[in-house]
Symmetry: C2
Subunit: 230 residues, 2 copies
């Protein structure tokens, strides 16, 4: 069984709840793009009674609730634009994260006045989580950058890709970078493969994640530079 | 906001996980009835791609997993009896309990080899939990006997239904019994009202709960007699 790690649970000083400002800032900056993407790309079916939304890698809040709110408002606006006679569907929102995530804290933090039915889904988003063609909108914010596992070869002393105990590849050899790149490639393929099964024919997937500009070196990225201090 | 209580979480010596043998025995005895009820009453649609199951008041396991297994096997048998060409749907199982339930323990105890997609649903089953007409099979075992709240009048010294600090009505006045009966009546109406919205047209609801035989007194029930010691 693959060991999974999650953000710190609870509401204490070391919790994700109290230490996710940079993710919040990123999400806030991406909100306009998220809303625009829904206006431009989402197909609304006339006969949909339920609109299912998933947040993949939701952690324990509060950012996930704010994202869901943005998505719902954008979908409601799109519905309004499609015609005043279109009956509004009920919203079913699925909050997903690894099984070790603190779902108890997440559930207790659910907005009491929410206009949707909520469910928590434990499990890796690198595998199947939902029935086929059941999701109308899937979203993942600042989560897909986490790998499913550390590539084995970077932990093995005899390997040419040994990373000497470091947790970042910013100042590491080409072999180490390639090992991480191969793991990411395998992870992202598994992610898209699962989502392609789960998304409804007219569904939409939006992924927000930190990236480097094409052609730049890892050491030129601020985020990776910070990680090198660990 | 109504204060909710739940079974003890975790896996420790006082947890529900370690102290739910009598519920397990009750569920085991009811298994044959559960399977029979599915064979006789469940209508299987030819074009269903997903079969949604909910366990209402699931607590932290392990009994809920055993119930789900029984339900799935009975549905699969029913499908087989309906014809060998019927494509088996994917099973989507929703585990529901109050928001204070220990979902973290529940999720970690999910059977690793399960043949269904799992989700946790926090909230009172006396209200709406799922979108309209979205559930094919709903089940509640040893849970509906718990009231949504203590009737206010049994806690008020000046009320004729004051229960003098006791948590049972076995040896209490007629007024106390009536107050509990009225609360149960209101709760069960709310429960059925919500389920009637959530069940698919061909869906099935099975409730298993301890009861007294018609015409007997509370003091003649073994379970209520035990509670009187509290």
């Amino acid at each position: 069984m693959v060991e999974t790690v999650s953000m710190n649970g609870g509401n204490g000083p070391n919790s994700y709840t109290q230490n996710s400002k940079s993710q919040e800032e990123g999400s806030t900056r991406a909100k306009a793009l998220l809303a625009k993407s829904i206006q431009e790309n989402l197909e609304i079916q006339n006969n949909s009674r339920v609109f299912s939304i998933a947040d993949l890698g939701c952690s324990v809040g509060p950012n996930t609730f704010s994202c869901v709110q943005t998505i719902m408002q954008a979908v409601q606006l799109k519905l309004k634009n499609c015609g005043p006679d279109l009956e509004e569907p009920e919203f079913h929102v699925f909050f997903n994260d690894n099984v070790t995530n603190d779902f108890n804290t997440l559930f207790k933090a659910l907005p009491p006045e929410r206009q949707y039915m909520a469910a928590g889904v434990p499990g890796s988003f690198h595998g199947r989580l939902f029935p086929k063609a059941s999701m109308n909108f899937m979203h993942s914010s600042f989560a897909l950058n986490w790998l499913a596992k550390v590539p084995k070869e970077v932990t093995q002393e005899y390997s040419s890709a040994w990373n000497k105990g470091r947790v970042s590849y910013v100042l590491s050899s080409r072999e180490v970078m390639n090992a991480y790149a191969a793991q990411f490639s395998s992870d992202i393929e598994a992610f898209f493969s699962a989502r392609s099964m789960e998304l409804a024919g007219d569904g939409l997937l939006v992924v927000i994640m930190p990236c480097r500009a094409e052609g730049t070196l890892p050491s030129e990225s601020t985020i990776l530079d910070v990680l090198e201090c660990l």
